[in-house]
């Protein structure tokens, strides 16, 4: 049995599909640039995948809104998941750093591989205003230092046993 689509139903399907694609694109976009509050005053934004102009713009908007809303002075931008850092990506990152600085927040870039670092050096970009660390852990360490915080080992006990929630005395 043949199932011929009418012109009207074809157009209607296309409309539905393009709406669906638009919605999915929006969802993917939101999933790809999450902004996480890792501590009071510290936001983390892991970037996975490429950073084109559209994503950079989306990142800036959501990041800056969160900076103001949460009153966070430090943003850790993790580019471990960015496969290629070329001039264009570097420029986007610099724009994020500058925009956040205008708000009164500092951006730390972490997850830079030595290979990427060398590429950036060879590209001759001025990265003097950017603070970077190799890993998120080091970035967090610096963020704590900036905020005057220190992580110390508890005296005596070796810490909480597994399963303890640390909330009840």
């Amino acid at each position: 049995m043949t199932n011929r689509e009418t012109p009207e139903s074809i157009v209607s399907n296309l409309d539905e599909r393009s709406l669906l694609i638009k919605q999915q694109r929006q969802t993917i976009s939101e999933l790809e640039t999450p902004v996480i509050q890792v501590w009071d005053g510290i936001l983390a934004a892991p970037i996975v995948g490429g950073l084109d102009t559209a994503r950079a713009q989306q990142l800036n908007e959501s990041l800056l809104e969160r900076v103001v809303a949460s009153g966070s002075e430090i943003v850790i931008l993790d580019i471990t998941g960015v496969p290629v850092v070329d001039t264009s990506v570097a420029k986007h990152l610099l724009e994020t750093v500058t925009a956040a600085r205008l708000l009164g927040a500092e951006v730390l870039i972490v997850g830079l591989s030595p290979r990427t670092a060398l590429t950036l050096v060879h590209l001759g970009l001025d990265l003097s205003g950017v603070t970077t660390r190799a890993t998120m852990a080091r970035g967090l360490q610096l963020a704590f230092a900036r905020l005057g915080l220190e992580v110390v080992r508890r005296n005596g006990l070796a810490g909480l046993p597994p399963g303890a929630d640390g909330l009840s005395v």
């Binding site: 800036n60 800056l64 809104e65 009153g71 500058t98 600085r101 205008l102 009164g104 005057g148």
Partner: protein
Amino acid sequence: MGAVPIIRLGTTLIATVQEDMRDGDALALQNDLVVLLDRSDINGVLLDVSVLSMVDSFLARMINDIASLVKLMGAHTVLVGIQPAVAITLVELGMELRGVRTALTPERGLALIQRLSAAENGQRRDGH
């Protein structure tokens, strides 16, 4: 519109920039700052631009001029209240306002001014 109110809080001047600033207003603000900087011992100027939904090259130049003026007087300028959309536009237009410090809130701006002047005067405060 019109005069920018300036409040003195200890050794800090707080200027709250209004919407629709014109050339005359910018000059008046700078003149007012000159008078106040002359009158008393001022460590810093807090420039509050939170009301501005847009900062064009004119306002950017005014901010830079104020920062330069204040620096020549040996004090610090801290900008607070830049809205995210404004920050993005400024960066896109290449107006980065280098040489002007910024803070997230007026409280932190005031604290920053105090830290900067304390550091300059060689005083050390616990916790900073």
